[in-house]
């Protein structure tokens, strides 16, 4: 049985996508390069869950607002409190916030969002958002990776937080990017360890949808 790839709807661009065939031993990934840029709307086939539910853009639960990291908003050094200047450091090409007192550079880099596509009885588990952004829309359980955890650990944690579901990660599923807001996504295919799920604090409902 091959899981039909779910075309992921996001507020941005899909960079890399895998599909997946279980129990294929020892080798591996094919690769569906999607021309870049590629608005998600072109990716939606007629038979995906995206046509049946209002699908949320991916979100990142540990911060209420995504940030593209606007350098000029960094006005003070977080280490010494000195005021910053905004300049391109020697040997670099990008504008950075540089402390005028201690000289440290406040690097801003994309945040990594990790999540799970949970497949169960030919259905996938989605969560309905109970908070902003995207209140009332359906989404995969996903959120910001935290320091101290691996991407898989982060995806499992987010699933536990948002769907009270204990999952086992099976394979990578998709790597996505939303460059405009400085987010990079790693989505894993996963399965329920036991048939239990319920809405976490950020969800109003969790439901299996046919693929």
């Amino acid at each position: 049985m091959t899981v039909k790839p779910i075309h992921l709807q996001i507020c941005g661009l899909v960079s890399q996508r895998w599909s997946w065939k279980p129990r294929t031993v020892s080798s591996l990934s094919s690769f569906s390069p999607i021309p870049y840029p590629n608005p998600y709307s072109k990716l939606l086939p007629t038979n995906t869950v995206a046509r049946r539910v209002r699908f949320a853009p991916f979100h990142a639960s540990s911060s209420p607002l995504p940030s593209a990291g606007i350098v000029r908003n960094i006005k003070f050094c977080q280490w010494c409190g000195g005021s910053t200047k905004h300049d391109i450091p020697e040997g670099e090409e990008r504008l950075r916030a540089i402390c005028t007192v201690c000289g440290k550079i406040a690097y801003q880099n994309p945040k990594m969002v990790v999540g799970c596509l949970i497949e169960h009885d030919n259905k996938v588990l989605l969560c309905k958002r109970s908070i902003q952004p995207s209140h009332g829309l359906w989404t995969l359980p996903a959120g910001y990776l935290e320091i101290g955890e691996s991407a898989v650990e982060g995806a499992i944690r987010e699933t536990r937080e948002e769907a009270n579901a204990d999952v086992e990660v099976i394979s990578p599923f998709a790597q996505l990017d939303i460059p405009l807001i400085g987010q990079s996504y790693m989505i894993f295919l996963a399965k329920l360890k036991k048939h239990h799920f319920s809405p976490g604090p950020e969800s109003s409902a969790c439901q299996l949808f046919s693929t």
Copy 2:
């Protein structure tokens, strides 16, 4: 022809690894889950390049020192300059630096490192580091993803910067994590667009090594 997976040596843990078979149409990835945690030393077979050269840990070129994001080092708010307190915000579970003046939270998340495993005539392209960290060791071209670019774009840029090589990304190759220092890696398999490479500012040599 199947590219033999190169076992990546890093100062940390390997979470997900793919191998790759070119020209396999329309489906997909298998998956080699590696028990976690798994010291890299156990992953090294006898015939990898890692046995022939001193292999650098992955590095991230846009910042001289990796940071695990020590919350208590954040003493001032970068937006208003107020002093911070270190506490667990309501509804969260992790210690954060919270501004005592404006209340903003300085979230620290892992940085994403992107790079290329460049395969050419059954060899792979490595760069010898000319700067710290890991001066004199060999590494894949890789570095921090920047805001405004996709993971693939970042990997291509790092390859251009460190090896003066113009590459085309073929497939994802590996997703790695070094939780201890807050880094998450996405490595892409790539090929040279033309047979040209030379050391960039951070490399003293670039060379093809047999796999």
